[in-house]
Symmetry: C2
Subunit: 409 residues, 2 copies
């Protein structure tokens, strides 16, 4: 008999009927003799409704009061879920973040969990109760209500699982697991049985938005087995583990193909090849709070450099205008931008022990006449920037080149 922390997101608890369905899922586990701690989000739409009210009061709503406001969303859900569990004959008790208590720092709207009191929850569980906790929220040392930022309910789930030493943290969502790539792009995409935390982090940060990155980091740090599965169907989902041995032995070289089209490319051409120039350019961008992803610098024959980097598409005009401003000072020739690009990445811990992965990737793309504009690599991923129009073609070619459509078994 295990202890499971189950997290249900906003879509899973979006209506009273769906909350009843969640109760049935929870009761299913309870009936098998397991202890269950349930973490819930606000009913879908509720957080946005509250934010709209706030914006009507204050253009930039006060962060402390914003947390007081939006934390009510989860508080509604925990009460409703406990009511339906009781209605179905199961004892249950709700906890707000403050009641648990989930102690955080005081960084309103993006607080970080510092400690969790497990005593009350443990005593409820030992008395046979289902414990229902409001996700996304906590309380600081002064008793102020804090929130962990959007998607923070995943983090609450993982943190509770770590604190309670749960057997598994199950994240219920509207997809039935983590796929080798987006099934809307590649029909033969397969659900992965297992994936490592590191791979999941790369997949998530690259645009496979199944799980919140922070919760995966957290799960990896505390070695909490994390499972992604569907609220709306049965099935084992995908287990995210630390199990590197498994990964090295059995895992294919590449576990998945991630992609995103949120980036744009900015280039400053003809920059003199002098020390400190790149740093000057990139600090100017950083000072404007623009995040830079891929960076490539070509040293040209005439000692003039071309520096190219990618930023979020929303930031491209701002970035270009900053570069225009310092362009004359630097003696640069020209600033050009391109937002018709896409990033495609192959991810897999198997890369560590396999040679030739990059060349296999590049030749798969070359076979389709797809030009690679930029390349960046890490230990377990290789990303390329290509023309946006080739995105789907590239993903399909890579999915097939790394035999991801064939089951691992």
């Amino acid at each position: 008999m295990g202890l499971f922390v189950q997290k249900y997101g906003g879509t899973s608890v979006g209506t009273t009927d769906r909350i009843k369905a969640v109760a049935d899922k929870v009761i299913g586990f309870k009936k098998q003799g397991h202890d269950v701690v349930v973490v819930v989000s606000a009913m879908s739409g509720e957080t946005n409704r509250l934010i709209a009210l706030a914006k009507d009061m204050q253009e930039k709503p006060d962060p402390r009061e914003m947390d007081v406001l939006v934390s009510t969303g989860e508080q509604v859900t925990i009460a409703l879920l406990c009511m339906t569990l009781k209605d179905k004959g199961y004892d249950a008790k709700s906890y707000t973040g403050g009641q648990v208590k989930i102690l955080t720092d005081s960084a309103h709207t993006k607080a970080r969990i510092q400690n969790i009191d497990v005593e009350n929850m443990r005593s409820d569980l030992s008395e046979g109760r289902i414990v229902v906790v409001a996700g996304f929220q906590g309380v600081d040392e002064h008793g102020n209500i804090t929130t962990l930022g959007r998607g923070g309910s995943d983090t609450t789930g993982v943190a509770l699982a770590a604190a309670l030493k749960a057997d598994e943290c199950q994240i219920y969502t509207d997809v039935d697991g983590v796929y080798t790539t987006d099934p809307r792009v590649v029909e033969s995409a397969r659900r992965l049985e297992k994936i490592t935390f590191e791979e999941m982090l790369e997949m998530a940060s690259l645009g496979s938005k199944v799980l919140q990155i922070r919760s995966v980091e957290f799960a990896g740090k505390y070695n909490v087995p994390l499972r992604v599965l569907s609220t709306f169907s049965d099935g084992p989902g995908t287990l995210i583990t630390l199990d590197e041995e498994y990964a090295n032995m059995e895992q294919p070289v590449v576990s998945g193909i991630a992609f995103n089209r949120d980036e744009a490319k900015v280039s400053i051409l003809g920059v003199p090849d002098a020390p400190g120039v790149a740093s000057k350019i990139l600090s100017a961008i950083g000072d404007a709070n623009i995040e830079i992803d891929v960076i490539v610098q070509n040293v040209a024959a005439d000692n003039n450099n071309d520096l190219t980097f990618t930023v979020h598409r929303n930031d491209v005009e701002k970035a270009a205008s900053i570069l225009e401003d310092i362009s004359e000072e630097l003696g640069a020739r020209k600033v050009v931008t391109d937002d018709k690009i896409a990033k495609v990445s192959i991810v897999g811990v198997g890369m560590r022990s396999h040679a030739g992965v990059a060349s296999r990737m590049f030749s798969a793309l070359a076979n389709e006449n797809i030009n690679i504009q930029m390349i960046t690599t890490s230990e377990i991923k290789i990303s390329v920037i290509i023309d946006e129009k080739y995105l789907e073609l590239a993903v399909r070619a890579l999915h097939s080149a790394f035999e991801l459509d064939q089951a691992a078994e």
Copy 2:
């Protein structure tokens, strides 16, 4: 410079625009140099929306979880009010009941306040902040969220005013004070400048639903000057005080005419005149949780009694059926009911020192040929039960007989 606790009800904070208007009222006091603690209810409609959600989960929603659920209503309002106060350039801080903390017993959905920590509020006030507190809610000694029951925000306001030793507790509502009677029935009804707690209690319990009875009791007990005034217009409202000397010296004999048509009359006829019979009848009604208001017993010549009493109209069928059940056992002749009745009362502390008030009342009614069916009196009120169709006529006749349409000044 004073300290004011101001309570704004659900209608006063029913929209974001109205919350902004409340902020302006609060700021008006602040600008005069006063300290202000604001107590707010949930936005109108919100509590009913939450209750409907709860009923969808559980026919009789669990009381603990009900409190977790409905307390979110006020939590939303405190955050929104603080945001708009800050937007208008005033520092403000919100408190949930638990954050204050307002310690209550554990009687969920109808908890009673036991203690209020004023330290944090005092320190905010001394730093120039406007303090905004969620009405209607508290926390028990175990940290469970409790609520004081419907209308409990008035009680929160009065309790805070008592704990903070405020100069006045101002209850903002959609009427501009307490009237001599309902202006919809008597056009010449006047707003009272002052009224005593005792009079207000009698007026309120008799159907002038301006203030919640418990809050008036509380204010009387702790001698908190209470003022009822309008959110939507300016004006001094009505001050409710302990000042009995004022009442005895200046107050007219009768301060107001209250009435209600929520009651029905139940009679059991031909009951043998034996000890314990009335008690047997009334306990049977009490055991069924039916509240009895007026009771009259006539001893007839043949030693057969007629016992008549009034109950809420919703309970009349239940009461009659209980009486039918014990009617044979008691040897009673008949049970009859009448729900076409109304209760009209004159209320005034001046009655204590004036003779002839009752006869003046009865002759005013007799002049209009209104038959009095039952009479009940207390030290400061006389109530009569009459045929419902004469209600308006009776109220107008009494309003005029006691010269309530003439200003006291």
